[in-house]
């Protein structure tokens, strides 16, 4: 009987800790994805400002060079544009909105910054594109800072909360 209780309590504690861990991990995942995005946008900047490569080639290069955890987005957009000749670039960016939110755990403001890239990309000459990139990097920087703060604040809290909740539950049940 005691063995069963011990196993039961252990199960409760592990699963609640796991839930806490998963909740907490969301914050670090978001931060990591923002950092991956930043790197990809940096690659994109090089492609455009220094390489003057047209968007379809630039996107393919980023997909190949960048961290696949984020760079697949660019491949998605590229494929979308090839399939929908009527669409403009922003439509391509809008098509990945849900993927950003669901798979990459982006918040509304993160998605918005990424979409603003779609609004400005390819619309003007190189010097103007350069200015726009600067602005976007600034915005990504802000997001990064905010995501980091949030992660530090919440990740531990959720992890601890999960563990403590499990322990509390065990004590009550005992």
């Amino acid at each position: 009987m005691i063995i069963l209780r011990i196993i039961g309590s252990l199960l409760i504690v592990t699963s609640s800790s796991l839930i806490g861990y998963i909740y907490g991990k969301k914050y670090s995942d978001r931060l990591n994805n923002i950092l991956h995005m930043k790197n990809c946008v940096r690659l994109l900047e090089t492609e455009i400002i220094y390489g003057a490569n047209p968007i379809p080639e630039a996107f393919l290069n980023i997909y190949n060079k960048g961290n696949k955890k984020f760079s697949f987005i660019f491949k998605y957009i590229r494929d979308y544009l090839f399939q929908n000749k009527n669409a403009n670039l922003l439509d391509g960016f809008l098509s990945v909105e849900d993927v950003l939110k669901e798979e990459l755990l982006f918040k509304k403001e993160d998605v918005e910054v990424f979409l603003s890239l779609g609004r400005m990309l390819g619309n003007s000459d190189r010097s103007d594109q350069e200015k726009n990139f600067k602005l976007i990097f600034m915005e990504i920087g802000n997001l990064e800072e905010e995501a980091r703060e949030e992660k530090e604040k919440n990740e531990k809290v959720y992890k601890n909360l999960g563990l403590l909740f499990g322990v509390a539950l065990v004590i009550i049940l005992l």
Partner: protein, 329 residues
Amino acid sequence: MDKNGTETFNSILEYISPELSKKLWKIPDYIKKNAEEIRLRKEKPLMIFGGGTEYFLMNEGSVSKKEKGALITTHEDLVRTFQLISRYSVYAFEEEMRSGFITLKGGHRVGIAGKTVYGAKGIESIRDISSLNMRIGREKKGISDNIMKFIIIPPDSIFNTLIVSPPQCGKTTLLRDMIRNISNGMEEYDFRGLKVGLVDERSEIGGVYNGVAQNDLGIRTDILDGCLKSDGITILIRAMSPQVVATDELGDYKDINAVHEALRAGVRLISTVHGKDIEDLLSKKSLSWIIEEKIFERIIFLDNSKGVGTVRDIVEGYSFNSVLNREKY
């Protein structure tokens, strides 16, 4: 060849907004084969020009010579088409925009008109695009085969040759094929291929796209793409040791000076000019200079009388006597 004509036309449709290209797909094959230009103007009917005739695209995808019921090109059509041409990337075509046209894969050229923006170094770009003219580049291999015997001096030289024709009579197409023949050589005349240096100021002859010439210019041809003729001829002579220099559209004094430089270097020349006949050439100041100097030993006149690229006459540059007709009779 015929099949090729429609395929070339269809290949350009992938750069046109889907709304329009769907309808352009449906037009009869004989028009596709002969089409030279597709013209898109904002809020104006879409026109297809070919073989000296103008056609309007109708709403349901047929064509008509009359304007009534013609399909009107909208602002969206132009924007979408331009997006496809520039591949969503205005920044990648800054240089091309400055010169007013973009070369597509396959050597087709798209002329652009709209609001020009001036910067410190002249035209910076073109905005608010109002017209697009898609010129279908047609490579016609073999069209010069019959006249090459008047141009070449076997085994390894050619006459300095000038091709004269009004616009849209196939000057560039003929020049392109002559370059190919000169560069590859012609066994039937015991003519060895020569090194050809081509100054392709308007990317029209080679249709260079991403650094690769889209048209066959022969195996011994070096192309200086997008370079001014006056600069290009000098560079080629210095750097590439060509035996023949080819250029398109001789016009101003700078070009003529460069031609003289080429002659001093002992290089053979082949070029084109706008014009109708000898009188017309002599009436243009800069050109009359080289005609009177008898630099060109062969002058080819083209016109539209029996379809685009009809060779009306080939004359000897010294006496202006026809060599083509002498051969015939």
